[in-house]
Symmetry: D3
Subunit: 278 residues, 6 copies
């Protein structure tokens, strides 16, 4: 679960963006002293993620608003499930409803899709992992949703792991040199991962002492051979052209991780609605 200030910073931005100079409809239609209650309801089946964040959104404008969480992140929800109830003054509730929904729908959408893909490879040791292809400003939230869905996190940011890609290798003058440079200067608390596109490069990366090797866009056959070569010397991550239909085949090659940008860059929102009690 994201740290408290990460949630606060996100909500601060979201409210200033959505309300601007004021929620004029609500201010002028709803008496300031009118109270009521409402509920967040799932409109389709999926895996819940972000319920506590949605609750924080609903109380953001007024601390006297009260939320009751009826489901937890990671639980399955079905159409019609009430996941949260809220009561208090109506003005702040109505002004925050959309933000709560926008966050909950996106995060639950990610968790739902991740869970589906994770299930696909449940018979293999391979783990499904995310990437840095996230929405700017939502990184830790979207990576949290991947976890909720059963996926694993790759590095959270550029300071959370060494990842030597093609361009770095060219600039450094070879895999060996790149690894050497990093090993002698970067924080020694980080693993060193090297991206390779063929088996010769894999050998080079292993020789250089890479902790993890990313097999970029390799064929299934190449991956199988990579697993044989790399066994016990480094962890292997398959990446590139990962689709739901290819997942099982890739997992069957024996790689340790399968990483996939679509988990966060191409998301179908999970539908929820907010209803006031009449």
């Amino acid at each position: 679960m994201p740290t408290i200030y990460q949630v606060d910073d996100l909500l601060k931005r979201a409210f200033r963006e959505d309300i601007g100079s004021g929620d004029l409809t609500t201010i002028y239609c709803v008496p300031a002293d009118k109270a009521g209650s409402g509920r967040l309801v799932a409109r389709e089946e999926g895996v819940l993620a972000g319920i506590a964040i949605a609750a924080k959104a609903l109380v953001y404008l007024d601390r006297s608003v009260q939320c009751k969480l009826l489901f937890k992140d990671g639980q399955k929800v079905s159409r019609g499930d009430i996941v949260l109830t809220v009561e208090g003054p109506l003005q702040p509730i109505l002004s925050s409803e959309r933000i709560a929904l926008n966050l909950l729908q996106r995060l639950s959408g990610i968790a739902t899709q991740t869970a589906l893909w994770v299930k696909e490879i449940k018979d293999y040791p391979a783990k499904l992992a995310d990437t840095r292809k996230t929405t700017p400003g939502l990184r830790v939230f979207e990576k949290y949703a991947v976890q909720v869905g059963g996926g694993r996190n790759h590095r959270l940011a550029l300071d959370g792991g060494i990842m030597i890609k093609d361009n770095h290798i060219v600039a450094a003058g070879g895999i060996g040199e790149a690894v050497l440079q990093v090993r002698s200067r970067a924080p020694f608390t980080l693993k060193v991962e090297v991206e390779v596109t063929n088996l010769a490069e894999l050998e080079e990366a292993l020789a250089a002492g890479a902790d993890i090797v990313m097999l970029d866009n390799m064929s299934l056959e190449e991956m199988r051979r990579a697993v044989v070569i790399g066994a016990g010397r480094a962890q292997l991550e398959a990446s590139g052209n990962v689709t739901q239909s290819r997942l099982r085949e890739i997992a069957a090659t024996g790689v340790d991780y399968i990483s996939c940008g679509a988990l966060t860059h191409t998301v179908k929102a999970l539908d929820f609605s907010f209803l006031l009690d009449k």
Copy 2:
């Protein structure tokens, strides 16, 4: 196109989020004085949106980086098209590439889907419009992408239009009372829109002097009758359960606008890649 400070604020957030304490791989693998060039390439067909923002991302860390834009927002791109070239010191280019891609892919994804849907109803006067179901922190960017794709913007934020929904009506004590309250107090530069779910409410909204009436989840038949009733008295906006397959039918009812949250909440990223010149 978003205002300069909106772009700056977004990039500021994005870079702090993605780099954190430092892009350690690049710092330690790529010599600080090493220069080079590269290109952003489309990997599938679609409508380009956000190219100027991507360019700003690429020069964010170092003003000596130079970008050349080869395509404009709104243009069609095909697989293999080079949309932008960049040259300068390699460290800042490599550290900003992912952010440029994440933004470009999301915005182009929105523009591409919007263009597809707009084409669907091109034979009718109805306009396709977005909603407030956008990603927190990206509102003006995503709404800009909808425009680029040929869609129309509904209000940008809660201060950019009066939108009296069911909950407001209940709280105010009826449609007439709600409109009256707003008309006598809100800025008179804003139109007043009322959400209705049946034809009786439509009559009430028209009688109250609504400028726009949103027909929420009505059947095609109801919408057709609404168009007859509302003709010349208010603009009509169809909303709810809007899918690509239903678009033409809805447009054929004669409504003025069709609004759809999926344009921004369920987005398939358009694929681009960044390549350094060897």
Copy 3:
């Protein structure tokens, strides 16, 4: 009433500005554990505005400070009226007193003057409206004070209404073209207002379908004719050279709105003082 974060943002700025490195007098003269009570007192007659914001200022530095509001915004106050009492630790009370007063005096000054001007035209349907000629950083607060005084708000910011001025018309190539451009691209939730300086332009604006027409610096006779011409086709707003002495005459022409920058740009503070109980 401004949204909670608008108040918080303003107070954050105000306290950092006024205290700087520290309220050194108070820190070194007043024992940290000394408590007491005090009161905000009106020193002249007027309309109160901003009392809740003043109260927030007084508790800003220490949540254990307690305020009791004895008057509400919009009420008349007379010399000697106690509008608020406060009690708690003296250090934070003394360090926040000036900020509370500065805000209350300015906002009440605006409300008082607005109420005076509104009274002037109470026999006519015309409404008195504000403009964007506000103090940078205080827009929503000053516009709120205008409302408290009985005035109406014009758009709160540039995103809250379309206002086509002379310069826009020139740039677009005519009134008709300008309106057309905006109608086809701007959010359809905003009214379109056009500024005109003579009756020929008024006709053009009406023909182009303007929702509101601003009559800029017209003579009373011109305004009277404009009202006849525009009847039922658009709302009319008189602007320019609006002084207290001309108000009734302008209102008598039959225009819908009279807007005036002086309501916010030339303000006489309403006098209040803060007194500690002995």
Copy 4:
């Protein structure tokens, strides 16, 4: 002249406040590539203040906008004087014009009034000084305008001088004790000023070694006697009930400073307009 970051911070706030999600009129009426020129013109006589800040506002959104300053702060302007010309792309010029004017009008209004009051007492050694009764967020700007008008600055913030008021004296247990506390603990680079309401307190303050004594709301006769008593022992500042008509009388008593909140809390904007060249 305020420091560069003070100007930047103010403009940052002002633009986000005024533009919000976007200057929609300008974006949609004015082609992005249309350039032009314009001028800031004085519409009444007064003392100019803030011209460099207005120029910064005009170039804030686009560095390719060029300003030429034809007058300097402190100069007299007459109706019709062009104080600044600007040229460049029209969109950013039109979107920044109002902010430039709002600042220039307020600061020039303050400078103009200050100059008038200063002239009133030019035959006496007394100096006219400002107070902390400024607009929240504009402190250094308004105090700068007072200087431009020929006035003197009292402390800029609570950390720029010790000012022992009635409430501090009560809390500390007497004037002597209050001064002692402060002298032994506050930064020794600050003068110590004590507020007194009668001559007995003046004697006490002098005995305690005050550097400056503020004579609060004293009669002219009392002030004259205070000047005799205080001669050579401390500087004397007259305050309270300072109006333009009483200025000369107060100055004639021989006090060193006359401070007055109205210089900044009750301001008549000096009228300027912005015109595009046709």
Copy 5:
């Protein structure tokens, strides 16, 4: 004690810096619902400073964490003293411990050293003062620690005192001219200090009416003569080459203040540790 918002701003920065995307060890090792208690313990003898700030750090991430302060700032602590106990959920306690320690150790280190130096000159009227040679971002905190240790504060920032140095004198064209310029334009609530390097300049500064004269790098003999010359005309501050071993000699010359940058720029942290109760 620094103002509440100064503490909040510092902690905000400190937590974002130290936690980054998340305290991953704690999140994944410590169950979210696990509670416990702990204590801050002194590991060497010294003067405590910053205990309330450390307590604020410990509750920063979760308001349900409770702290109990067993010592006050300014008190002596010995090895083994428990200065604070804390209890509550373990996750936020473990994630905030390092920040609490880093601040407490630095501030107590400053207070301890200051106290030692102050003791050195306790038989003389001279006061030990700090400078602006503080850690960027910690100015008011480090100056507070100097006070806790018994030292005096020189100006807190550039706006809290006039300090005319060599470079200013050259630029202004002489000591007399520099003082004149400042006296006629700067806030009259600030004392004027002039830096001199020999007795001729001292005479000049006194003649110009300086309130304080800083004797820069003078010999003991020169300082003694300066004290004779300056007696009753200005306060004298010795500065430059101030070491612990020279302190008494300098104080014996009769100067009023001895200022020393090392109090804040060369600090030995006082050792504390945080222990969870088993």
Copy 6:
């Protein structure tokens, strides 16, 4: 070298803190149009760190100021060496000098001490490493200075490495369980370090698969045995009670890293001065 925005953020804070409402001495003594030149001079021997940051500080207030760097970070400087020259308008140069010096002195102090300690163990494979005991707000700067001095960085923040301490072990229910939890949930790009206090715990940590083991406050004899036990299974980091005099002995035990908080928490500033050219 810290990223550009890290430097900008630090300078932004530093200038607002040090200048506050204004550098009043400089504004009023130094004519705005007066230009000149100056130099930063080393006053003692040491290792330079932060010269580019000092240069950024000197140009922060005015881009027309020009700096020329005569030394690079990592070079040795001797008393009298001119490390940087600057020229341009005097006002911004004088207002930024102190901030440039404060940063340069601190960072060079850290680099100098680190280099001294690194030299001490140059005959052993052990590397000297820093900790998280840094000054709040200066983390990446101080860690950069350690690198400049030849030291190695431990994790930069809590998201840059897993570090299971005593408290985590207790909370998780044992070393094995703690490592298991983290391995199955934390980003797989981070190494897992475990803190142990005796050889039994070392065995447990190795069995659990720790990548790094920290030997906390062990005796030299224990460390020697730990090296034998751990050989080839994990890297070993000695920590606790690391002083300059014990460094060689610790290194001689054969550990891989020696980490020491004093490198950043107890710093002696390296002396530099800024001189204007006459």
